[in-house]
């Protein structure tokens, strides 16, 4: 398995990125305020307004470093992709399957089975670690429901019905999100998912982390030669990375939700990290974001054993591993797409 390198996050809105030798130079007010060598970078995520020089983009393309441009609020503006992943055959296979609802459903089913399995074990882990603080019976009941839904999914080959089963299971799981918040309950609560803009602190955190995860998954898919915009579960919509969202389903609970919960429960974020605007929108301070990126990075360095590959890899490489396994299935090396199961 390849090695996980670092992702450089630029949160300063006025920073401009340029190429200086073999380094990214971070420029503010015409002055270089920092340099990072390209050779240990996996990707660059910039939340700035100013962008990056064409020379830097070219250097990144050559080295397979993904550059992602996000708005200061964390919405995706675009990505720079090179021509190197030129496997037309693989992409055409992906498009053909995407056009075929029945075949799409076979892959979508595995994404969703992974999602429910991982949601279930997120709940189970909660009962094990915090049994005294939570209503265990309620958690067990939902866990059983998730198991049943998961088994049910395996015999469904219709996308609409798959979405229905998944939708019910997801709301059952999310109904316990608030119960999993064990600290700072007056500032952090969850009454349901809202976004664009997020209207409370927890939703603001979830939005940010989902964006980071989607970015990683999208880059991983493109890197193995797949088209991140053509999905199986999520149908085509201009500008939406449907396949990245498909593959993210498996990782939402274990990667993102658990991370957000631990930020709150370990008091790594506080109420003072958030600002409520007149419109009700909740924004995060720059310092808060910086702090969160660092913790996110640490999280990506943690090691796990991949359930199918049986190889020790870092969390950060899970999107890459799954993208590669999907490509392997589309090429005919595997009999199906192996979902990522976490326990």
């Amino acid at each position: 398995m390849k090695k996980l390198l670092t992702t450089l996050y630029i949160t300063m809105p006025d920073a401009y990125l340029a190429l200086k030798g073999e380094n990214v130079s971070i420029i503010k007010d015409d002055e270089s305020i920092g340099r990072v060598p390209l050779h240990n970078l996996e990707g660059i995520c910039t939340f700035g307004r100013q962008g990056a020089s064409p020379a830097l983009m070219a250097a990144c393309i050559e080295r397979d470093i993904a550059i992602t441009f996000l708005t200061t609020n964390g919405r995706l503006r675009g990505r720079v992709i090179g021509p190197s992943n030129g496997n037309v055959v693989l992409r055409k296979t992906q498009y053909r399957i995407s056009d075929d609802e029945k075949k799409s459903a076979e892959i979508a089913r595995h994404f969703l089975v992974g999602k429910l399995y991982n949601s279930k074990w997120t709940l189970e882990r909660m009962t094990r670690d915090h049994g005294l603080r939570i209503d265990v019976e309620k958690f067990k009941k939902t866990s059983t429901y998730l198991t049943e839904s998961m088994n049910q999914l395996m015999s469904i080959d219709d996308l609409e019905i798959l979405r229905g089963v998944e939708g019910n299971a997801a709301s059952a799981y999310f109904s316990l999100m608030d119960d999993m918040i064990l600290q700072q309950k007056e500032d952090f609560f969850f009454k349901g998912r809202n976004r664009r803009p997020p209207l409370d602190n927890v939703n603001a955190l979830l939005s940010l982390i989902y964006t980071l995860l989607a970015t990683d998954v999208g880059a991983a898919l493109e890197a193995v030669g797949l088209d991140a915009y053509v999905g199986f579960l999520h149908r085509d919509r201009p500008g939406r990375m449907s396949l990245a969202l498909d593959m993210m389903e498996e990782l939402r609970s274990v990667c993102a939700d658990r991370f957000v919960l631990s930020l709150i429960n370990k008091k790594q974020v506080q109420a003072s990290d958030f600002v409520k605007k007149e419109s009700g929108a909740v924004l995060m301070t720059d310092e808060a974001r910086k702090k969160i990126f660092e913790l996110w990075h640490n999280k990506k360095d943690e090691k796990i054993t991949h359930p199918f590959l049986k190889e020790k890899i870092s969390w950060g490489l899970v999107p890459h591993a799954q993208a590669m396994l999907l490509a392997r299935f589309l090429r005919g090396d595997l009999d199906a797409y192996p979902a990522f199961f976490w326990k």
Binding site: M1, K2, N85, G86, N87, V89, L90, H110, V113, Y117, M150, N151, M154, G225, P307, F308, L309, E311, M324, R328, F329, R331, G332, D333, L334, D335, A336, Y337, P338, A339, F341, K343
Partner: protein
């Protein structure tokens, strides 16, 4: 059989990959996967000098031509010879701009030392066939120069070897036409493969995904 059109030509150097591992060849030439490792970087560095097409030297009766583009439409292969030595020989052919008759001897430069397998030899033989097809003259021998031992190994281009190369080229074209990446046996050679991270040879011997899904879901 009709000749291949130039647009269908495959890279002659691929014979080497194909001989090493058919899957590796398919990953590089069909799926366009390429990962540089130390071996390939060293290889290309070494070639920089040998490949300069603008160096043409003549010493005594031998003309040295570097970076000579070659092809054979019968085999459907195209490539570049590191060095071709044209030796003055009565059995040879006349060359544009030179007096007398010449016989070509292809010389291929290799990092490292002679290999146990035939990959280098077959690449050289393929070059010889191209030269025969292009110049209408026999190419009875060629040479491999190994950088690590700094020695040249003369190779006789036999009919048997040529038949083997033609057969290999046919197989390569068959895979390419079908866009087929074969699943081949894994082995010791996987350890030194530059595409290991992409191929994941272990994957080819794993349990089926169906059984994996079933097993995990039952837990």
């Amino acid at each position: 059989m009709t000749d291949y059109d130039a647009s269908e030509f495959l890279l002659l150097s691929g014979i080497q990959h194909f001989q090493f591992c058919e899957r590796q060849w398919a990953l590089i030439h069909i799926e366009q996967e390429w990962e540089e490792n130390v071996l390939t970087i060293e290889g290309s560095h070494l070639h920089e000098k040998a490949d300069d097409p603008f160096i043409r030297e003549k010493r005594k009766d031998v003309l040295y031509v570097r970076g000579l583009p070659i092809h054979s439409s019968k085999m459907g292969l195209t490539g570049i010879c590191d060095v071709v030595e044209f030796h003055q020989d009565e059995n040879g052919v006349p060359l544009q701009g030179e007096k007398g008759r010449y016989l070509p001897i292809p010389v291929e430069y290799k990092r490292g030392k002679p290999k146990k397998d035939q990959s280098d030899i077959l690449q050289l033989v393929a070059q010889a066939i191209c030269l025969e097809d292009m110049l209408y003259c026999p190419v009875p021998s060629g040479a491999l120069y190994y950088h690590e031992i700094r020695r040249r190994v003369e190779i006789e281009i036999t009919e048997e070897l040529k038949a083997q190369v033609r057969e290999t080229a046919k197989r390569m074209h068959d895979y390419y036409r079908r866009r087929h990446t074969p699943r081949v046996k894994t082995g010791k050679h996987c350890k030194s493969c530059s595409l290991r991270h992409i191929c994941l040879p272990e994957l080819l011997t794993k349990e089926s995904v169906a059984s994996y899904m079933k097993r995990m879901m039952a837990e």
